[in-house]
């Protein structure tokens, strides 16, 4: 049975309180997300851009293999890296793009091919 809200102030207040609680929860989630994003930005800023040997040592094994290979080749496609590492081209492509996102490698397109390199 529907009740008219205008006729019962207690119901109206209860409705407002529930709405405020929901709004409060949403604000808290929003603030927390913003905090996390700020932390993520700081982590990215902290990453040294130089792909030196100490950075190579700190990388996880799968990325280190790709990074060392690109250091040796200088300028290479995912296909060329995969020939050296004996891993699938798609896998190497994923790792190379991850290293680009971490600012350790640069990527440039020449026609249909994407080349990865260390900016020295």
């Amino acid at each position: 049975m529907s009740r008219s809200l205008g006729k019962n102030p207690a119901v109206i207040l209860e409705k407002i309180r529930k709405s405020l609680d929901r709004l409060n929860e949403k604000m808290e989630v929003f603030i927390e997300l913003q905090k996390q994003e700020r932390k993520q930005d700081l982590i990215i800023q902290d990453l040294p851009e130089a792909l030196d040997v100490m950075t190579l040592l700190s990388l996880p094994d799968h990325l280190r293999k790709t990074a060392v290979t690109i250091c040796k080749l200088g300028h290479a496609t995912a296909e060329e890296v995969s020939e050296q590492t004996k891993r699938a081209r798609a896998v190497e492509s994923g790792y190379l793009n991850q290293l680009v996102l971490m600012s350790y490698l640069k990527k440039e397109r020449k026609g249909r091919k994407a080349y990865f390199f260390v900016e020295r």
């Binding site: 040294p48 130089a50 030196d52 040997v53 040592l57 280190r64 250091c71 040796k72 260390v118 020295r120």
Partner: protein, 258 residues
């Protein structure tokens, strides 16, 4: 294609330079084309062995990008009494140069790695050399790790000192394995009484192979006359019949089959 051999150790004073120089001379004597580079920029020592004077360019200049490698390499073939050829690249021993090299930043070290990696093409391929041997500084130094990254084979020299053995063991797991390098151990300066019978010699090989989980290429006894020579002799050239020279000769064939 030629090989890049890096001689490294956890601690100083293990005999890296002595082994690098004798290994290079042994290869040159066998008719090979070899080049030895001093990558110990903190304590350069090849200058005092090869005694070249008034140099215009050093390896420091090559890594700084101020010259190409052909300006740095010195022809030691006339002095090495060999059927092959031997070239030397020296690190600048001047205090100012040591200070300059110890103040390099990460970007510079990254570029230095690129310059070292390119030696595979410029020295091994273009000059058609058989071996490029790097004498490095001990421990986790930038120049040494750069050398290890560019190596085909890493020879780790250790003595029987406990801290040396433990440090070497850590480096095996936290450095050489991470770069997936072909690595072998050379035990040097082992007291001769530990090696008097075949059983004892076999035991020493087995013990250190188990410790390091790597092949032990050679166990070299401590020879008083090698210590007495104080680095003034290249045994594989000057005293080829000496037991130390024979050990080094044996190492060359083991590296080739490694």
């Amino acid at each position: 294609m030629g090989k890049i051999i890096v001689i490294h150790s956890y601690k100083g004073g293990t005999g890296k330079t002595l082994l690098s120089v004798n290994l290079s001379a042994a290869y040159a004597k066998q008719g090979k084309k070899v080049c030895i580079l001093d990558l110990d920029f903190r304590a350069p020592s090849l200058q005092s062995i090869f005694k070249f004077e008034s140099l215009d360019y050093w390896l420091n200049d090559y890594l700084n990008g101020s010259c190409e490698i052909d300006k740095v390499l010195l022809d030691y073939t006339p002095e090495c009494n060999c059927s092959g050829s031997m070239y030397v690249g020296l690190a600048n021993p001047a205090i100012e140069a040591l200070r300059d090299m110890s103040a390099k930043d990460r970007k510079w070290e990254m570029r230095a790695l690129g310059r070292l990696l390119s030696l595979k093409n410029t020295v091994l391929n273009d000059m058609e050399l058989d071996y490029l041997i790097y004498d490095t500084s001990p421990g986790l130094q930038y120049s040494s790790i750069n050398a290890i990254v560019s190596a085909d084979v890493v020879l780790v020299v250790s003595t029987i000192d406990r801290s040396d053995i433990e440090g070497t063991k850590r480096m095996v797991h936290e450095l050489y394995h991470l770069f997936e390098k072909k690595t072998a151990i050379l035990m040097n300066k082992v007291p001769i009484e530990f090696l008097s019978t075949q059983l004892e010699r076999d035991g020493i090989y087995k013990r250190f192979e188990n410790t390091h989980t790597l092949p032990v290429l050679k166990v070299i006894p401590c020879y008083c006359d090698v210590l007495r020579a104080g680095g003034s002799k290249i045994f594989t050239r000057d005293e080829p019949e000496h037991a130390f020279a024979k050990h080094v000769e044996d190492i060359t064939s083991k590296i080739d089959n490694f």
